[in-house]
Subunit: 334 residues, 2 copies
DNA sequence: GACATCCCAGCAAACGTTTGCATTAATGGG
DNA sequence: CCCATTAATGCAAACGTTTGCTGGGATGTC
């Protein structure tokens, strides 16, 4: 029903190739013809069919972006940054949400594969080997995970987690807890390793409570376990869980930071607005989104660059952490 | 580089049409041939090109979903509900964010047009006439706006706003304010009309402060104007603005609900977790997402149904509203 | 044994574009 | 005035599929 290139050609008395060139290579067609074609195209309401075009050029000018959970406030800034960067490069971003489900994730990559020039796989939940396999079907850039041989952009969550633990220890906490995130998350493993190492180095006890859904409810539900663990300082997989945890502790009559100190990760917008304001590890999500788009787009030029970039994180101390039962040794010699 | 149907045909010694049928109409091909084709397809890593298929079948099994701002917590539940419903119907959802920009919105609809079977236009910011024009290029379902002649799903925000105003008046507030949302929002106009009517009916004064960005910052920035208006009860365009407003009032030393009562709209997840807990008008966003998908999909069957459905809203009274300076008259005769 | 039927598979056109090559007309140089 | 160059357009193949039609062989019926 919609007008095709052939309709326009017929109506303006030229060959379809001339119509095609009018749109994709205007300088190759006579100014007069061009304006005539343009006029009839306009009157017929003709729009080039991008899918058909992509079939032959091999480029869709679209980028797929897959996230684990669109409701997680961690992602929107990244998505928006990616969209902005894509717009600059004359591309569009199509977002899809996997519901934290590895199967859905695979299905979505395949569905997107031929309709986009590449896919930004953010916080994937599937296995490395599957990611490698999929990367043979469609150009992939992995965000929040390191996969050998593939272009990746990650944040230094390990460094962030270490600093968070050191911060707690520095405040005098010796009994710590780590509120882990979802199974399958690379970030979760990194945080875990780093937290364990940092706790060991500081001679502090660390109870790992894992896995948990990376949501407020996940944090809330774990409050009881945290209390039972005897920890006075806890690091959560993300801000959402930290906020949920604080709520759960509050409901149980445990005060933050007076009784227990809590630090989150991500520095989502609302971390600044909770009470107490959340101490957290800030992640450069916007920069990550931009970098991912750039990597994908330049990846086309020189094949197999497979750069892997790591963006720095930063500990932001606010009001959800306070002095622990053990006085910090720093009052002495240092 | 990826294997095509032709490669599989060659490798398994059959015609391409047989390969095609092996995937899209298995019952038409001999079981033995089928398994042979399947095997070589597997070994070659062949995946049908959905774009090429769509070119000829006219169906992509994809649905576009366009929202004004993916960072607004109002949308994710709707998106997720739509995704779930789409999955049930064997379709995929591609989400795009317009940044509250009508131009981007138009651009996105056009970009999506030929790659999806239809577009769910949620809270559009562009004009009705443009929407009508675009609906001739791609099947559209409009959410959160009534457009004559097009399938729409809206929520009864007018009713919700009226009830909110009545609630405030009932508490003894006579000086009210409406914190308006963005220009171009149908919902905003509906709320405004309903609030003005309800205030007039109750003989209360209503100051309209508009337009504002529909975000926490938008609410926060308007706090001063609200205070200056002398209002003791205010209705905000959405919860985000209400939360920002409360924060702004708090910063100015104005207490909620002791000095000023605030009611929001949407009942986003965090409205239950703020302090004070937010009184708000709940919107059935998930139901809206599901309904929109269904309308789009069945729209294909019988043309020009253009049903328009309205979902009910509900006032949820929590802690951000309290008694006003004027005692409710209900103490007397009623 | 002749005929109708059915199952499979091949053939080729179609979907809406792009693009290398061929063709034509116009221009400029000597 | 001839030839070489350039500009503008047409031609047709290609992209990766689907699908109506055709035909050949096997089967079943009388």
């Amino acid at each position: 029903m919609p007008a095709t290139i052939r309709d326009v050609a017929r109506a303006s008395g030229v060959h379809i190739s001339t119509v095609s060139r009018t749109f994709s290579a205007p300088h190759l067609v006579n100014a007069e013809t061009r304006s005539r074609v343009l006029a009839t195209a306009e009157s017929l309401g003709y729009r080039p069919n991008r899918a058909a075009r992509a079939l032959i050029t091999g480029r869709t000018h679209n980028i797929g972006l897959i996230v684990a959970d669109i409701a997680n406030p961690f992602f929107p800034p990244m998505i928006k940054a990616a969209e902005g960067q894509a717009r600059l490069r004359d591309h569009h971003i199509f977002v899809a949400d996997t519901n934290e489900d590895a199967l859905v994730e695979e299905d979505l990559v395949r569905a997107l594969a031929k309709q986009v020039d590449g896919v930004l796989l953010c916080s994937p939940r599937m296995s490395n080997s599957l990611i490698e396999q999929l990367s043979r079907e469609v150009p992939l850039v992995v965000v929040n995970r390191l996969v050998a041989g593939l272009p990746c952009v990650v944040m230094d969550v390990a460094g962030g987690a270490s600093r968070a633990i050191e911060h707690l220890v520095g405040l005098g906490h010796r009994e710590l807890a780590l509120l882990g995130g979802p199974r399958g998350s690379w970030t979760n493993r990194e945080i875990r390793k780093a937290a364990i190492a940092a706790a060991k180095a500081a001679d502090a006890k660390l109870t790992v409570i894992s896995p948990n859904p990376p949501t407020e409810d996940g944090g809330l539900a774990a409050a009881e376990q945290v209390i039972k663990s005897g920890a006075t300082g806890v690091l959560a997989y993300n801000d959402l869980m930290a906020i949920g945890l604080i709520e759960g502790l509050d409901a149980a009559g445990v005060r933050v930071p007076a009784d227990i100190s809590v630090v989150g990760i991500d520095d989502i917008a609302s971390a600044r607005r909770t009470r107490p304001k959340l101490t957290t590890v800030a992640n450069p999500t916007s920069a990550a989104g931009r970098a991912a788009v750039d990597m994908l787009l330049q990846h086309g030029d020189d094949r197999r660059t497979t750069a892997q970039i790591t963006l720095q994180t930063e500990l932001i101390v606010r009001d959800s952490t306070g002095p622990g039962p053990h006085r910090a040794r720093s009052s002495g010699k240092e």
